[in-house]
C-alpha cells in the first residue's frame, strides 16, 4: 500500500550529491513531493528531507540505493508517526480586500497564522504547520479571492527516537578508521 514516507538522507558536503539522490527516485518512477536540503547538526554533514508516496518495499529500496552512493552517510525512511514535522508557508493577500471583508482576518486568526507585514497594497501572512493546516488556510482564503501569491516550503523534520542514528554510525566508523 502506498503512503507518505519521509526519507532523511545525510551526506558529506561534496558537490553533486543532490543530483545523485534525486536520480534514485526518478529512475524508479517515484515523484518527490517535497525536498529540503540544509546543514545538519553535525559539522560538514548535509541533511536532505524528502517526502514521497510509495510502498514500504519501495521506501526500503530507495534507502538502499541512496546509501549505495559513495558519499552518502546514511538514509532512513519514516512514517509521520515517527517524526516531528513542520512546513512553512507565506501568503500575499490583497489589503483592500482584507479591509472590506472581516472574514479574512477571522480566518487568519482561526488558523493561528501570523501577519508579518501590512501596507496599503497587501498583507504578508505566515503559517507554519502540517500540509493540511497550511492548505486549509490557503483554501479558505482562496475561496474569498484575496490570495495574490502563495508559497509553501518542503517538509523539515526531526525524529522521535531516543538514539541519534547518524551519531552512532559516525562513532562506529571513527572506531573502524583507527582500529
Amino acid at each position: 500500500m502506498e503512503k507518505l514516507y519521509t526519507i532523511l538522507v545525510f551526506s558529506e558536503n561534496i558537490a553533486g550529491i543532490l543530483n545523485q539522490v534525486t536520480a534514485v527516485f526518478t529512475r524508479r518512477q517515484v515523484n518527490i513531493e517535497s525536498l529540503n536540503v540544509s546543514a545538519s547538526s553535525t559539522p560538514g554533514v548535509h541533511k536532505y528531507t524528502i517526502t514521497c508516496y510509495c510502498t514500504e518495499e519501495m521506501a526500503k529500496m530507495l534507502k538502499a540505493q541512496i546509501e549505495k552512493r559513495i558519499d552518502v552517510l546514511q538514509a532512513r525512511y519514516y512514517t509521520d508517526e515517527e517524526i516531528f514535522l513542520q512546513e512553512t508557508s507565506l501568503l500575499k493577500i490583497s489589503a483592500p480586500a482584507m479591509l472590506e471583508n472581516s472574514e479574512v482576518c477571522r480566518i487568519v486568526r482561526h488558523h493561528g497564522a501570523r501577519i508579518v507585514e501590512v501596507n496599503p497594497t497587501y498583507a504578508a501572512v505566515e503559517k507554519t504547520g502540517t500540509t493540511e493546516d497550511i492548505l486549509s488556510l490557503y483554501n479558505a482564503l482562496n475561496k474569498l479571492g484575496v490570495v495574490r501569491q502563495f508559497a509553501r516550503s518542503g517538509r523539515i523534520c526531526i525524529t522521535r527516537g531516543t538514539r541519534e542514528q547518524l551519531d552512532d554510525y559516525l562513532a562506529e566508523r571513527e572506531k573502524e578508521r583507527h582500529g
Binding site: S11, E12, A15, G16, N19, Q20, A23, R27, E57, K60, M61, A64, Q65, E67, K68, I70, D71, V72, L73, L170, R173, E174, E176, R177
Partner: protein
C-alpha cells in the same frame, strides 16, 4: 616553508606519479585537446629512464573502456583509460555503464575544459560528472592540482574495493598544468562507504540451520565468488554439505566446470536441469549474484517453494529482486567459511542424481546436435566446441553479445579462474574485440579467444587497428551468419518471423583482414574446422577465423522472456 619552483611539478606529472603509486602499468587511451598536458607527461613516462607505463593507443574511446574492462577481468587489477573531454568522454560512457552493471573495476580519466570555462558551452565541454554519476560507482571533478593525489587514490580504492565498479575522474585542463608540490596520498578509508560489511553471526547461524535441514539444497554461484577470490571457500562449502551448484554467466569461472557438484549455467539459455530444479529445491543459496532477470525469468513464480539465502557484499542487492529469508551481507570469502564451519556433513546424492535424466535430455536434444552435427552448414556450437577442445581449457574466453555469446559461454570449459570476459548485464555489442585486446595485456601468457558475430565484429571494428599496431594476439573467431542472429531468433519465435532489419550485408572480411595485415582464414566445410582452429592457435599474434554459419542457427534451451524458469524449452514451439 613554501617549496621552490623546482620542487613543484605540473598536475599532469602529479597524475603520472599518482597512477604509478597505484601500481598502474597499462593504460588504454586516446589523446585530444583537453588532455594534451597529460599526454605530454605520458611521453616521458612511457619511455626511457622514467618509463612506468605501457600506453595502448586505441581507435575509439569506447574501445579504451572495454579494453580496460577486459584487462581488469582477467588480471584482477584496475583497468585504466585516459581520454579527452567532450566526445572523447561521452564515448566512454557505454564502457562505464557496462563496468557498473558487471562490477568491473576501471578508472576513466577524462580531460575537461579549464574550470574558468566550465558552463560556457566551451569547445568540447560536456558535463561529464553529471552524465556519469548515475552509471558509475563514483565520479569526481579534480578542479585543482593539489587534489590529484587524493582523488586518484580515492578513485582506485573505490573502484577495486567492496563490489568493484567504474570510477570517472573529470580532469580540467587548468589542474593538468598548475604546478604543485606532490604529496603522495593513500586513501583506504572513506567514512561514508563501507566496502566490506562485517559478517553477522546471527545470519550465519540462520543460514547454516536452513542448509542443515535442507533435503534439496541448490547453490547459485555468481561473479562475487571470483571477485572475492573465494573459490576455495566455495568448494569447501559445497563439498561439506554436498550441494549442487549452478553458475551465472559471469560466475562461470568461480567453480571449475569439471567439478562434480557443478550442475551447469543458470539463466535464459543456461542448462535445462538446473533451471527446472530452481523450482524444486527447498533451500536456494545465492552466492555473490544479483538475481538478474536473465537468471530468474518471471519473478512471480521464481523459486517460491524454496527458502532463500542470499550472500552478497552489496546490501542493496538484498530483497531487490528476490526476497531473502536469510541474508548475509559480507564478502563471500568471509561469509562462506563462517557458514561452512556450522554445516553438518551431508549426502544429497539422491537429489543430485535427479538432475541427470534432465541433463541427458538436454544432451540428446540440444547439445549433441549443436556440437556434433553431421550435415548442413556449420553451427556456432560446433565451432565453440572445436576451439574449446583445441585450447584444452587454458584459453581466456572473450565474447561479444548475442548468439555468439550464448553459444560460447555454454560450450566453452572453465577449469581456471579469471578466464571469461563477457558483457553480462548491459549486453554491449562491440564489447568483444576491445575487451579481448585488454585481456591480452592483462594475461599476456594466455591464449585469448574472442567469439564475435558479424554484427558485433563491426561495432568496434576500428579496434583492428589497435590489434594491428600492438600485434595483440587475439584469436578472433567470427561466427558469420549474415544476421543479427539473436534478434532474428526472437523475430522468428515471437514476432511472426518478420525479420525487421536483422539481415545484414557484410563486407569481405578477408580484404578487411588484409588491410590490417592480420592473418585470416575462412571455414565453410566442417571437415576443415579442426585444422583451421589448429592453424589459428599455432599462428603467433592476431588471427581472424571466419566461420560461415547456418543462417537460422538458434540458441537452445531457452526460457522465453517473461516466463518461468521451469517453462524452459529445449526446441522451437515445444
Amino acid at each position: 616553508m613554501t617549496p621552490s619552483n623546482q620542487e613543484l611539478i605540473t598536475g599532469s606529472e602529479a597524475l603520472m606519479l599518482a597512477l604509478k603509486a597505484e601500481g598502474v602499468e597499462t593504460i588504454f587511451g586516446y589523446p585530444g585537446g583537453s588532455i594534451m598536458p597529460v599526454y605530454d607527461a605520458l611521453y616521458d613516462y612511457t619511455r626511457g629512464e622514467r618509463k612506468a607505463f605501457d600506453h595502448i593507443l586505441v581507435r575509439h574511446e569506447q574501445g579504451a573502456t572495454h579494453a580496460a574492462e577486459g584487462y581488469a577481468r582477467v588480471s584482477g587489477r584496475v583497468g585504466v583509460a585516459i581520454v579527452t573531454s567532450g566526445p572523447g568522454a561521452t564515448n566512454t560512457l557505454t564502457g562505464v555503464a557496462d563496468a557498473m552493471i558487471d562490477s568491473t573495476p576501471i578508472v576513466v580519466i577524462a580531460g575537461q575544459v579549464p574550470i574558468s570555462a566550465l558552463g560556457t558551452d566551451f569547445f568540447q565541454e560536456v558535463d561529464l560528472v553529471g552524465v556519469a554519476q548515475p552509471i558509475s560507482k563514483w565520479s569526481y571533478q579534480i578542479r585543482h592540482a593539489e587534489d590529484i593525489a587524493w582523488a586518484v587514490s580515492r578513485a582506485f580504492y573505490i573502484a577495486r574495493s567492496g563490489r568493484p565498479g567504474p570510477v570517472v575522474l573529470d580532469f580540467p585542463k587548468n589542474a593538468q598544468t598548475e604546478r604543485v608540490e606532490f604529496k603522495p596520498a593513500k586513501v583506504d578509508f572513506v567514512r561514508s562507504y563501507v566496502p566490506y560489511p562485517k559478517v553477522d553471526d546471527a545470519a550465519v547461524r540462520a543460514a547454516a540451520e536452513l542448509i542443515n535441514h535442507a533435503k534439496k539444497p541448490l547453490a547459485l554461484v555468481g561473479q562475487g565468488v571470483e571477485l572475492g577470490g573465494a573459490q576455495q571457500e566455495l568448494l569447501a562449502f559445497l563439498e561439506k554439505a554436498d550441494i549442487p551448484a549452478g553458475r551465472t554467466m559471469l560466475g562461470l569461472c568461480a567453480l571449475p566446470s569439471t567439478h562434480p557438484l557443478n550442475v551447469g549455467m543458470l539463466g535464459m539459455h543456461g542448462n535445462y536441469a538446473v533451471n527446472l530444479k530452481e523450482q524444486e529445491c527447498d533451500v536456494l543459496i545465492a552466492i555473490g549474484m544479483r538475481f538478474s532477470d536473465r537468471v530468474t525469468g518471471s519473478l512471480k513464480t521464481y523459486a517460491k517453494q524454496a527458502k532463500i539465502i542470499h550472500l552478497d557484499i552489496d546490501k542493496s542487492e538484498i530483497n531487490k529482486n528476490v526476497k531473502a529469508d536469510v541474508a548475509v551481507v559480507a564478502d563471500c570469502k568471509e561469509s562462506l567459511p563462517a557458514i561452512t564451519a556450522l554445516l553438518s556433513k551431508a549426502d544429497h546424492s539422491v537429489w543430485r542424481e535427479s538432475f541427470k535424466p534432465l541433463d541427458e535430455m538436454e544432451r540428446t536434444k540440444v547439445i549433441e546436435p549443436a556440437i556434433h552435427p553431421t550435415e548442413g552448414p556449420l553451427l556456432m556450437g560446433e565451432v565453440v566446441n572445436a576451439v574449446a577442445e583445441a585450447t584444452k581449457g587454458d584459453a581466456v574466453l572473450v565474447t561479444d553479445v548475442g548468439q555468439n555469446q550464448l553459444f560460447a559461454t555454454r560450450y566453452f570449459r572453465y577449469p581456471k579462474t579469471r578466464s571469461l570476459c563477457t558483457s553480462g548485464g548491459l549486453g554491449t555489442m562491440g564489447y568483444g574485440m576491445p575487451a579481448a585486446i585488454g585481456a591480452t595485456f592483462g594475461a599476456p601468457d594466455r591464449t585469448v579467444c574472442c567469439f564475435m558475430g558479424d554484427g558485433g565484429f563491426q561495432m568496434c571494428i576500428e579496434e583492428l587497428g589497435t590489434i594491428m599496431e600492438q600485434q595483440a594476439p587475439v584469436k578472433m573467431i567470427l561466427l558469420n551468419n549474415n544476421y543479427l542472429g539473436n534478434v532474428r531468433q526472437w523475430q522468428d519465435m515471437f514476432w511472426q518471423r518478420r525479420k525487421s532489419f536483422t539481415r545484414m550485408m557484410n563486407p569481405c572480411y578477408e580484404l578487411v583482414a588484409q588491410g590490417y595485415g592480420i592473418p585470416y582464414e575462412a571455414v565453410t566445410d566442417r571437415k576443415e574446422l579442426d585444422g583451421a582452429v589448429a592453424k589459428m592457435l599455432a599462428t603467433k599474434g592476431p588471427y581472424i577465423l571466419e566461420c560461415a554459419i547456418k543462417e537460422d542457427d538458434d540458441v537452445f534451451p531457452m526460457t522465453p522472456p517473461g516466463m518461468s524458469v521451469n517453462e524452459m524449452q529445449l526446441e522451437v514451439g515445444e
